[in-house]
Symmetry: C2
Subunit: 109 residues, 2 copies
C-alpha cells in the first residue's frame, strides 16, 4: 500500500481477498499451483479436499469467475491453472514501503 486506497479500490481488493478467505479455496489454489506442469484436473479435488463434488465445483466456479484460475475443458475433464498475475495483484496490495516515516503524529484531538 503506497497510499491510502479509495473506497472503490478497497471494494475490489476486498472481493479478491474474500476468495482467499475460505480454507477450501485456499487449498484448491495451493494444490493447483503446486501440481506437476502447474495444472490440475478437477476430478482430483473432491477426494483430496474432502468435500463433495458440487461443493468443489462451486468453489472452482468462483475462482474462475474472478480470474484467479483458468479452466480448460479437455473432453469431459476440466483442467485448471492458477493465474499468477491475478494473485500478484492481491499480494502486491499487501506490499509496503520499507523505510520508516519521519513525520510526527498530530497532537490530538
Amino acid at each position: 500500500m503506497v497510499e491510502p486506497i479509495k473506497s472503490d479500490e478497497a471494494q475490489e481488493l476486498a472481493a479478491g481477498f474474500k476468495l482467499l478467505a475460505d480454507p477450501v479455496r485456499l487449498r484448491i489454489l495451493s494444490l493447483i499451483a503446486n501440481s506437476p506442469a502447474g495444472e490440475l484436473c478437477g476430478c482430483d479435488l473432491p477426494a483430496t479436499i474432502g468435500r463433495s463434488q458440487p461443493t468443489v465445483s462451486h468453489h472452482l466456479s468462483l475462482l474462475a469467475q474472478a480470474g484467479l484460475v483458468t479452466r480448460e475443458q479437455r473432453g469431459k475433464w476440466a483442467w485448471f491453472r492458477v493465474e499468477p498475475d491475478r494473485v500478484a495483484v492481491l499480494r502486491d496490495a499487501l506490499s509496503q514501503k520499507s523505510e520508516p516515516r519521519s513525520q510526527k503524529s498530530d497532537a490530538h484531538c
Copy 2:
C-alpha cells in the same frame, strides 16, 4: 505457496484473509499504514471511512485481536499501528516459485 498447504494451515491463512475481505478494514489498514509516523488515532476514522464510531471500533477490535494492528492508549485516545510482520505472513502465502515445472500432467482419469 511453496507446497500444497495443509487443512489447518489453510484454516489459519483463511482467517487472516477474511480480515482483509472487507473494504472498511482494508481502508483502515491502508490509512494507518500510510499515515505520518505510521500511526493513526482512532478518532480520525469514522469521518474518514464514512461509518459510525461503533462500526469502526468493531473493525479495529477484530484487526487488533488478530494482531494485524497494535493499539496504544494515550489518555483517552487510542493510537493504532500496522504490524508489518503479520501482514507479511499473508503476503508471503501468495508468493510462488517463479520457475515453471518440467513435469507432465497425469493422463486422466
